[in-house]
């Protein structure tokens, strides 16, 4: 397999991450769910089209187009995305209408919008891509599926300039129904203090991140050393799997200088990260979900944070849990689990 590089990235999140590779100033919130800071769309999408777009489509399309711009790519050779719950805003609109009117009022626009691959289709239309176009919906494995597919395209199948990304929004319906399952904290919480919690339930959030993958490094590149993603209820041997991932790139775990962990404020779930943290005494340990919140594809923003750390040489000091927050990073491990079931490891390396 050929080496695969990220040659451009874009993130839209509850932090000012858009159209840059670093996060200069962290925004503190007093309550959750955290909502994205929607960037100015001028120059990206026809404003008349944007008015009809759901938030999911809007932020995904913006992040996708911005990642292409930052990688200086006009037309990607594939559009591959992951979303845990797709176009749930359109689905809710359609269901409300169907039930309230007892199936007597048709709503074709909401139905079309509720097709989960509609965002990937919109991205293809915006850049006139007539190529491969996939959408994965597998909860916490949605983004990693897209990333593995992209790696296969570039690393094994000779594709260039593959667009890979994720987008998930939080809607009031989704927040309420999933608070019932115990997923979210049912009280206000300060995002930057959420890891001090001793109760269960995560900080809820949303966001989108897109990446351009290529086999040539170019000038802004970060190498993807590997992705290991799998479904396994319960804790897993992260260290062994990370060791294998880095060994394929002739590196050991001693070379890892930054470990980004998916701490989300849920006391029970976060214990799995404590185990991993203890295994990297010499590396910087940092979290990212206090910035972005928990959602199915939050690990895409974890990967963006890893990319950002290598590109800019630093991470916000607010998220450093152990070790230094600046001075450059060369090898980054991101480990994320969704509800202790969907496990994702991603290795990134400086070029």
């Amino acid at each position: 397999m050929k080496p695969v590089y990220i040659t451009g990235a874009s993130a839209i999140s509850p932090q000012p991450t858009f159209d840059r590779d670093d996060l200069e100033k962290v925004v503190a919130y007093d309550t959750h769910p955290l909502n994205v800071i929607v960037p100015d769309i001028t120059g990206y999408v026809d404003p008349n089209r944007v008015r009809r777009m759901t938030r999911h489509t809007r932020i995904g399309l913006m992040a996708a187009l911005n990642a292409l711009k930052r990688a200086d790519v006009k037309e990607p050779s594939a559009v591959i995305m992951g979303t845990g719950d797709g176009c749930k805003d359109s689905v809710a609109r359609f269901l409300d209408n169907m039930i309230d009117h007892d199936e007597t009022v048709a709503n074709p626009t909401a139905f079309i919008g509720s097709t989960h691959n509609s965002l990937a289709g919109q991205i293809a239309m915006a850049v006139n891509s007539k190529a491969y176009n996939y959408t994965y919906l597998q909860r916490g494995l949605s983004f990693s599926s897209a990333l593995m597919d992209g790696l296969m395209h570039v690393g094994s199948e000779d594709a260039r300039n593959v667009l890979v990304g994720a987008a998930d929004v939080i809607t009031p319906d989704f927040y309420i129904t999933h608070r019932r399952t115990g997923l979210w904290k049912n009280h206000a919480v300060k995002n930057l203090e959420v890891l001090n919690s001793t109760d269960n339930g995560a900080l809820a959030g949303e966001g989108s991140a897109f990446f351009v993958l290529d086999s040539e490094p170019g000038k802004n590149a970060v190498e993807i050393l590997g992705v290991d993603a799998f479904f396994k209820p319960g804790e897993v041997h992260v260290k062994d799997r990370a060791e294998k991932l880095f060994a394929k790139n002739n590196r050991t775990l001693n070379d890892v200088d930054l470990v980004l962990l998916g701490y989300n404020g849920d006391h029970t779930q976060d214990r799995a990260y404590d185990t991993v943290r203890a295994q990297f005494p010499n590396a910087t340990i940092a979290c990212y979900k206090p910035l972005f919140g928990e959602f199915y594809t939050a690990n895409a923003l974890g990967v963006w944070m890893g990319y950002s750390a290598i590109r800019s040489g630093s991470i916000p000091k607010e998220i450093a849990m152990q070790g230094r927050s600046s001075g450059g990073f060369k090898n980054v491990l991101i480990y994320d689990h969704y509800q202790l079931k969907d496990h994702v490891l991603v290795g990134l390396g400086a070029v």
Binding site: M1, V79, G84, D85, G86, V91, F94, L95, M98, I99, D102, E103, T104, A106, N107, P108, F111, I112, S114, T115, H116, N117, S118, A120, G121, Q122, A124, M125, N128, S129, K130, A131, Y132, N133, Y134, T135, Y136, L137, Q138, R139, L141, S142, S145, D149, M152, S156, E157, D173, I176, T177, H178, R180, T181, A229, F230, F231, K232, P233, K341, D342
Partner: protein
């Protein structure tokens, strides 16, 4: 390295049968599954026929036999039943580390979330409602089936509208070819729901009569429900355990049309490119194809566009082709896998299945499908098309072992 991708097991449940054998029997004997809606509670049940699996959720649960019935949606039960059949057929253990599960669904657990949707916001939920909270997303059925069967390797789910499970088979084939997995359970599941009936009703593309793909008189599609899975296996793994290959996945392609959010271009550009690319991957010329299981939904737009694409690719010598949606209805996320199972059966039994209810060719593309079962055919390579909203066009080439 021999990177052949074999199909070593099949599993299916559809309106024409609860397993592979009954599906084959119905296909050969031209028994359609399209009938008046009896199970789904919808205002439109007298207006439109559909292809329902003729089992209540309870009976389906007995058949699929999960350890506990708690929280199983109809989509997940359909999926479990078909996955179990495919695994038993192939004789592979899903708990090996290099086994992947790649499912597909468009509506996921919608069949259970739509009746409880308005109750979700109540303060207290009775257990018959509470068990389905959090079963709505399309990936839920895949996770549930993986947990039930102890699959702890690669797991994912694709949702690209009506091409979803063809894309699952394509991804599984690529992952075996690139050496990442030895065995992949690939397919999809979608239960009929009020959501999809009302959605397609709102687009005005449902036929009030049993559908007539490629016929001049066609006025739309009939919805169906199904689950279907194939076991994909690497050559090394298959030979090491002395297993039998039923067929091979030799070609695949996915192409976006970037033409319209739902419609296909009138000249079938996306369909043409997907078929051409799949033939290129298979290293085959068009004349090598013995049978095409077309997408053939019965809508004016799809069949006109797909008919033009067939004419452009094959000229005057279009191979035998048919839409088996005349039996199963359009099963959305399951359709590509349903038709991949049928393509494999066509190879195994040397048949082309019928495109029921065809009488007159379309004026915009006068192509004539097979209208009765053709037996004693030599079926070497089958092309199977699945096209979806968002301009998502996929083609698979399935070849004799």
């Amino acid at each position: 390295m021999n990177n052949t991708v074999h199909i070593s097991g099949l599993g299916i449940i559809s309106a024409i049968g609860n397993d592979v054998a009954t599906n084959l029997d119905a296909l050969l004997n031209e028994r359609t599954g399209i009938a008046p809606i009896t199970r789904l509670q919808t205002r439109h049940s007298e207006l439109y026929p559909a292809a329902e699996v003729k089992l209540s959720d309870e009976d389906l649960g007995i058949l699929a036999n999960p350890r506990s019935m708690h929280g199983w949606t109809r989509t997940a039960l359909l999926g479990l039943k078909a996955v179990k059949e495919a695994l038993a057929h192939a004789g592979v253990d899903p708990q090996q580390p290099r086994v992947g599960f790649i499912s597909a669904s468009t509506a996921g657990g919608m069949d259970k979330s739509e009746p409880i949707y308005k109750q979700l916001f109540d303060d207290e939920l009775p257990d018959d409602v509470a068990q389905y909270v959090g079963t709505h997303d399309p990936g839920e059925h895949a996770e549930r089936i993986a947990a039930e069967l102890g699959i702890t390797g690669f797991l994912t789910n694709i949702s690209t509208a009506c091409s979803s499970s063809a894309n699952a088979i394509m991804l599984g084939s690529r992952m075996i070819k690139s050496g990442q997995l030895d065995v992949v359970i690939a397919g999809g599941a979608d239960a009929l729901s009020r959501f999809t009936v009302n959605g397609f009703h709102s687009l005005m593309i449902l036929d009030k009569e049993p559908c007539r793909p490629f016929d001049a008189s066609r006025t739309g599609l009939n919805l169906g429900e199904a689950a279907a899975y194939v076991i994909l296996e690497s050559d090394v793994h298959l030979k090491a355990r002395n297993a039998k290959s039923l067929a091979r996945v030799t070609g695949y392609a996915n192409r976006n049309e970037a033409f319209h959010v739902t419609a296909s271009s009138p000249e079938g550009d996306g369909a043409l490119h997907a078929m051409e690319d799949a033939l290129n991957v298979a290293q085959l010329k068009p004349e090598a194809i013995s049978y095409i299981n077309v997408h053939g939904t019965g809508t004016s737009n799809n069949d006109g566009s797909e008919g033009r694409a067939l004419q452009r690719l094959f000229g005057n010598s279009i191979p035998s082709f048919s839409s088996t949606k005349t039996f199963t209805g359009h099963t959305l996320g399951a359709a590509g896998a349903v038709e991949a199972v049928y393509a494999t059966l066509a190879i195994q039994h040397n048949v082309c299945f019928a495109n029921l209810r065809f009488t007159d060719p379309m004026p915009e593309a006068a192509v004539t499908p097979v209208w009765h079962t053709l037996r004693d055919q030599r079926i070497e390579h089958v092309l199977s098309n699945s096209f979806g909203f968002g301009g998502n066009n996929s083609s698979l080439v399935i070849s004799a072992p």
